[in-house]
Symmetry: C2
Subunit: 265 residues, 2 copies
Amino acid sequence: MADSHAPASPEKPGAASPAPAVTRAAAVLDALAASATGRLTLSDLSREVGIPKSSTSNLLLALEEARLISRQGAEFTLGRKLVELGAAYLGRMDEVQEFYRYCEQASVLSRETVRIAMLDGANVIYLARYEGHPAVRLTSNIGDKMPVSLCAVGKALVARLNWHDIEEMFPDDAELPVLTPKSLRTGAELKAQLREIREQGFAFEDEESTTGVVCLAVSVPTRGAHGPSLGLSVTALEATYTPEQGAQMVKELQELAHSLGNPMG
Amino acid sequence: MADSHAPASPEKPGAASPAPAVTRAAAVLDALAASATGRLTLSDLSREVGIPKSSTSNLLLALEEARLISRQGAEFTLGRKLVELGAAYLGRMDEVQEFYRYCEQASVLSRETVRIAMLDGANVIYLARYEGHPAVRLTSNIGDKMPVSLCAVGKALVARLNWHDIEEMFPDDAELPVLTPKSLRTGAELKAQLREIREQGFAFEDEESTTGVVCLAVSVPTRGAHGPSLGLSVTALEATYTPEQGAQMVKELQELAHSLGNPMG
DNA sequence: GCTGATCGTTCAGTCAACTGAACGCAATCC
DNA sequence: GGATTGCGTTCAGTTGACTGAACGATCAGC
């Protein structure tokens, strides 16, 4: 390491990729997605990803031809093709379609803000959102990620994992990300809640990500052997939330979850 | 599908890509997105994209490591990373955020189904959708594509192009895709409408994509020199549509378009 | 207007990725 | 049951992609 300031660990040291150009191209896309403005120059990307400029230039040319990125003057941004591909992914998930259909005709959920999310490591990714409650407008969009410890649906999904994996992901003294005064702070706190969630069959969030907002969530039994873990959540305003309401919402969430887990209903 | 899968010429004959592995990887993603079920085996992909199996195998390994695809047994599907990247693209578009904000507080549009779309060759891609009208549920989702001749927003966007380019894209005898009895059939028909749209400043669709549904649309003046062409549309049921309603909707659409085209309003 | 730095592109040499045939394996057909 | 078809993987040879330094272009500073 002659270079003192290694910007990150962009290269894979041990494992050689079977198609390095593809791995590098993916790193370029990640760098663009992670950057603050979403606009980077060739030199920026070359530095960020840690590959020579000339190689980066070739990658960018190929990515641009594939519409995966777009060049505007000297700056590169993510390309619109990514929207199409992401949409193709979501469109293929029957669960998302079924989710919309169910929410529309449910008695309570049809008037609430409901979301379906997927577990991705220590985060959840929101896949779709049904907005039946005009007063509850979420700041998070489809595709956004959220640490599992900060949302009901994250806790519901993690509670389904093997306890051994949970212990590994969240040691007792693990420091968790904090968004509000009520956010959980340590792995021990989280695991105490996970035990509760396992017993009662649903998860809750009491202003842990946003003050004034509460959530309820359940996990969907995995359809088939493969496939990602899905979860469902309802968001409500703390000011108007009542336990009776909550009980009914959980009931409908569980019904939807069961229907999603056992297709061809 | 604009391109019926031609098994013969999947390769770029004349132009050699500066990073063929990336171009090929993109072709693999396209093939997965275009396939009926979204699930293809290595051999399927090898045949579809027209590259040797061993090479395809390496590509798939790299793509899987990057989470751009996912393997389930012997079948490959698009990966969840694509949802993140697509979301990152949309999240960077200030126009989408502003679109939501405006729709929520508009007097008429807040109770309608509104969409924002972008021109992509001879198609439009839907970027976001605001659902203020419970009775109007669209079958098309975010990221879906639609031929420009079949929707109001497509016609609004094409009407903005140079007439020379329009003539090239749509010769008089060009055959247009047809979805309903009212769909436009020829380039001549389309261009007649485009002239009308240029004069009145907004576009319309009279059951050309879906029977019983009408649309109004305007284009957004391009922000800055670069950047994609954006368009806005409102969808209404033909049965309840009135011209007075339409006039008000067009007014608000144009207001939003103006605001999107001139930021920091 | 000149200097300096930074940016993106070009080019030839070298190394590594791609090819294609052969392999093991599983499911299918007769 | 045996044969056959199709799948995905392996491996060595060869072609083609990647590197890195030098080039011209652009912009900021004095």
